[in-house]
């Protein structure tokens, strides 16, 4: 099990430093990454501009006019002492998800390739409480894991040019929700009416690294009704208290 003592500090030019806890996708590593981000936020080191948690490392962006990388490394080594995972519990989001074939164009194919029925695929996808490892690729795009082992497939061989926003996607060990229309090579199982990216909101991204997500299946007519709410800006999606998420973690 990786601990803070395995950490590597890797130079990424004169404005960023990578604090690498591991090389793979691992919930324990992720919890350490998020714990360090929390510590840095809490301590407030002069010269650090922002931190970006990823699956296995924390990128620290800093201002070289206020902080030398050697000093930064020293400060970070101090903060890494006795670093424990899960210093804060993420929020738990229940996201309505519609798996109607009209919204999940790859549901049938995923079922065929995994030797499951579409109903079993939906049941597996919506049974997991996902951990948001990181946001990236697109503004607000959450990499969530871990997908049940039965659903693991490589990316599509023919990526789509346009994936609609709200699409529920899977690839390898990850689940995701497309925040914006974009090209994409993941398998599409359905769609959520909840805008996970909304420019009218501050911040516009619904999810944060460390959050937990669970999908609640809904029928098509309910999906359509919620989409209408979302477009009118009257769809409120609130997370459950941190304690509920703590239990899920």
């Amino acid at each position: 099990m990786p601990t803070a003592s395995h950490v590597r500090l890797l130079t990424s030019g004169d404005t960023a430093l990578v604090v690498e806890f591991g090389t793979g996708v691992d919930r324990h590593v992720s919890a350490l990454v998020l714990a360090l981000a929390d510590r840095i936020d809490a301590v407030g080191i002069e010269g650090i501009l922002e931190t970006v948690p990823t699956f296995r490392s924390l990128m620290v962006h800093y201002d070289p006019l206020r902080l030398r990388q050697a000093q930064l490394k020293e400060r970070l080594r101090d903060l890494l002492q006795d670093l424990h995972p899960s210093e804060t519990a993420g929020r738990l989001w229940r996201i309505p998800a519609c798996y109607d074939p009209s919204l999940g164009p790859d549901l049938e194919e995923v079922a065929r390739r995994t030797d499951l029925t579409p109903t079993e695929v939906v049941s597996l996808h919506s049974s997991e409480t996902y951990h948001v490892y990181m946001l990236g690729f697109l503004p607000g795009f959450p990499y969530m894991g871990d997908l049940p082992a039965q659903l693991v497939l490589p990316r599509r061989e023919d990526p789509r040019i346009k994936v609609p926003p709200g699409s529920l996607a899977i690839a390898m060990r990850m689940a995701a929700i497309y925040p914006l229309e974009s090209p994409g090579g993941w398998h599409l199982l359905g769609r959520t009416p909840v805008p996970i990216w909304d420019l009218r909101r501050n911040p516009p991204a619904l999810l944060m690294p460390g959050d937990k997500v669970k999908f609640d299946p809904i029928p098509l007519d309910e999906y359509d009704a919620l989409v209408a709410h979302a477009q009118a800006g009257t769809l409120r999606t609130e997370p459950e208290p941190a304690s509920a998420a703590g239990a899920a973690r």
Binding site: G13, A16, F55, L135
Partner: protein, 354 residues
């Protein structure tokens, strides 16, 4: 009272940019901002704006803009360009030097031609734009459709609101030609994933010359040249991306990540261009050739400190240019209208060959 700039023709890719939108990368939101912060800063200084005030970033081909406000003060800095003020009624054109502020009045237009020596230039407006900031910045991120003017590049017919409906008449400002020359070699700090490349791969990178391809944009600069050999595959579990990160996907050809870079990525990053050389990188046009040189982190930091001091000293180089109005009677009488143009592109053209 109207206080707008009316876009008659938008140019190739004209966007509002400032120094970017840091602080939201953990939400996957790119920083964006001016590709060439040196020219951006110069343009703002010339119109007396605080550094960092949002300006128009012009790429390759400039716009034509009609003044709908009572008066505005503008200045252009960046790639060499023919800049003309067009008379309200006659449409007669008068050349305006780059790196000089100029007061224009209602009905007149400003036309900026094709850029040379750099892909970008900046048009700063005294007082700046009255456009709502998005997450504390006016930088446009066209891929995400947010920031700046409606999240997109300017289009014909747009009317950009300004903070001021008129500006005082006073002495104009000028700057001597900026030192926009390119480094002989772009300096990099190796890492964070240089250990994902063979020794030969790293040597190839440092000893070869690369060419900027036309597939480059504000997000990344794609290079053509000798392929770089990965040590152990070309996929890594995604981690963060820094400004100037040089990622190498499966085809072995480096991509340097610029202002609109994605926040995270899954290709190994061999090296990072030092922050001091990023502005020069932002000026490189497709077809330009470049090479790299590795420096240590402490040297990179020293260079950055010196660069910041140099940038700060730009303010001391501002000189009065006298009281100049477009279509000034005495100026029109003079036979010396065009030869007074400052050729700021000259030093860049010289340095284009590395």
């Amino acid at each position: 009272m109207s206080r707008a700039l009316q876009i008659l023709s938008p140019g190739l890719l004209t966007t509002i940019q400032d120094m970017g939108r840091p602080g939201y990368q953990r939400l996957g939101i790119p920083v964006s901002g001016a590709l060439d912060p040196v020219s951006f800063t110069a343009a703002n200084l010339l119109v007396g704006n605080p550094p960092g005030t949002a300006a128009l970033e012009i790429a390759y081909q400039g716009p034509t803009i009609r003044i709908a406000a009572e008066s505005v003060r503008m200045a252009y800095a960046g790639g060499g360009a023919t800049i003309e003020a067009l008379h309200a009624e006659s449409g007669a054109a008068e050349r305006i030097p780059v790196l000089q502020s100029r007061r224009l009045v209602k009905g007149q237009s400003l036309r900026i031609g094709a850029l040379s020596g750099s892909t970008v230039g900046y048009l700063a407006i005294e007082g700046g734009f009255d456009v709502p900031p998005f997450l504390s910045s006016l930088s446009t991120y066209t891929r995400g459709g947010f920031g700046g003017w409606r999240g997109r590049a300017l289009a014909a017919g747009d009317a950009l609101l300004l903070q001021r409906s008129s500006v005082d008449e006073h002495d104009e400002s000028m700057l001597p030609p900026l030192d926009l020359k390119l480094p002989r070699r772009f300096r990099v700090v190796l890492g964070p994933q240089d250990d994902h490349f063979t020794e030969r791969g790293v040597r190839t990178f440092l000893e070869s010359e690369y060419t900027v391809t036309p597939a480059s944009d504000r997000m990344g600069m794609r290079l053509e040249g000798p392929q770089l050999e990965h040590a152990d595959g070309y996929n890594i579990v995604s981690d963060g991306i820094a400004p100037g990160s040089i990622q190498v996907p499966g085809n072995g050809l480096p991509i340097i990540l610029l202002a609109d870079r994605q926040t995270t990525g899954g290709y190994p990053k061999l090296a990072t261009v030092i922050s001091t050389d990023l502005a020069a990188l932002g000026r490189l046009a497709p077809g330009a050739r470049l090479a790299f040189e590795a420096v240590g982190i402490e040297q990179a930091e020293d260079l950055r400190i010196a660069f910041a001091a140099e940038l700060a000293s730009l303010a001391d180089k501002i000189r009065p240019a006298g009281r100049v109005a477009a279509f000034d009677e005495t100026k029109l009488m003079s036979a010396n209208l065009v030869s007074g143009v400052v050729h700021a592109c000259e030093p860049e053209q010289r340095s284009q060959a590395i």
